[in-house]
């Protein structure tokens, strides 16, 4: 039974179901499990090796991402108000620290929360991410972006990486 091996997905779908109902009762939980099993059995995703679960690291990562989002929002707002049409940006090549495709995906998604940045291009063969960042004033600021991305990748690997 592959559904049994996909229990994390069943668990997650059941949680979403219960949250959507807004109340918790035996009937709703049973209904949620049935729907989750049906969805998992009918639309199977490829089975990947399970990610490590490190609650403390995950919590820290969440906290950092939240802080990034707040700084990000403020920074983009500042660019808008201070420079407006004259805002400057840059595209910086950042060395990719991980081989794993999944972690690369998570890093790319998390980049969208770091101040003013978004990943434009992933060069897996060359081990590089190309990151667009709003609010660069000169080539020297590229170093700051690289350092920021390095920290983000480091945190992501510490949370979801295979080994430490």
């Amino acid at each position: 039974m592959t559904v049994l091996r996909r229990w994390p997905q069943v668990l997650w779908l059941t949680v979403v179901w219960v949250l959507l109902w807004g109340t918790i009762s035996v009937k709703i939980v049973i209904g949620g499990v049935l729907v989750a099993v049906a969805v998992t059995a009918l639309f199977p995703l490829p089975l990947l090796p399970r990610l490590p679960f490190r609650p403390w690291a995950l919590l820290q990562l969440g906290g950092h991402l939240l802080a990034d989002l707040v700084v990000s929002g403020a920074q983009v707002a500042w660019e808008t108000l201070r420079y407006g049409p004259g805002a400057r940006a840059g595209i910086v090549a950042v060395p990719l620290l991980t081989e794993s495709e999944r972690i690369t995906t998570f890093v790319a998604a998390a980049t969208a929360l770091t101040p003013g940045s978004v990943v434009l291009q992933i060069d897996r063969a060359g081990g590089r991410l190309y990151v667009y960042t709003l609010g660069l004033r000169g080539p020297a600021d590229a170093t700051r972006v690289r350092r920021q991305m390095e920290r983000l990748q480091d945190r992501m690997m510490r949370t979801l990486g295979e080994k430490r």
Partner: protein, 120 residues
């Protein structure tokens, strides 16, 4: 009383953040820059507004709001990345507004050498 004040502060900050995002959409020079305004202050604004709302609600009803912000946080980056990438490729990006462009340097080099320019 205190929850009212805290809730109001969150709601107003959230609304301000959304307003600044909307302003960025109008004032910033090109598509990727506007994309930043559409994702960062908007997501932050939504988060603050939902927080403000959640404070006034009972826990049961507030739980659904967690899903709203979670899916927003998961989907917004994916979309912004795809749009930014297309913007770069189709040239809707204002190259004069860039102080560094290390991707262009690489694509030029690859074009010279006849390699595939920027495989994903």
């Amino acid at each position: 009383m205190i929850t009212d004040v805290v809730s109001a502060v969150f709601l107003l900050l959230g609304a301000l953040s959304c307003l600044l995002g909307a302003l960025g959409l109008v004032r910033l020079p090109d598509l990727p820059a506007r994309l930043q305004a559409a994702t960062k202050p908007q997501t932050l604004g939504l988060l603050l507004i939902l927080l403000g709302t959640a404070i006034r609600l009972e826990f049961e009803n507030a739980a659904t709001l967690i899903l709203v912000i979670l899916f927003q946080a998961v989907t917004a980056p994916v979309i912004s990345q795809i749009v930014a990438r297309s913007a770069y490729r189709t040239g809707t990006l204002d190259r004069d507004a860039l102080v560094v462009d290390e991707l262009a340097e690489r694509m030029e080099r690859e074009a010279r050498e006849g390699g595939p320019a920027g495989r994903k």
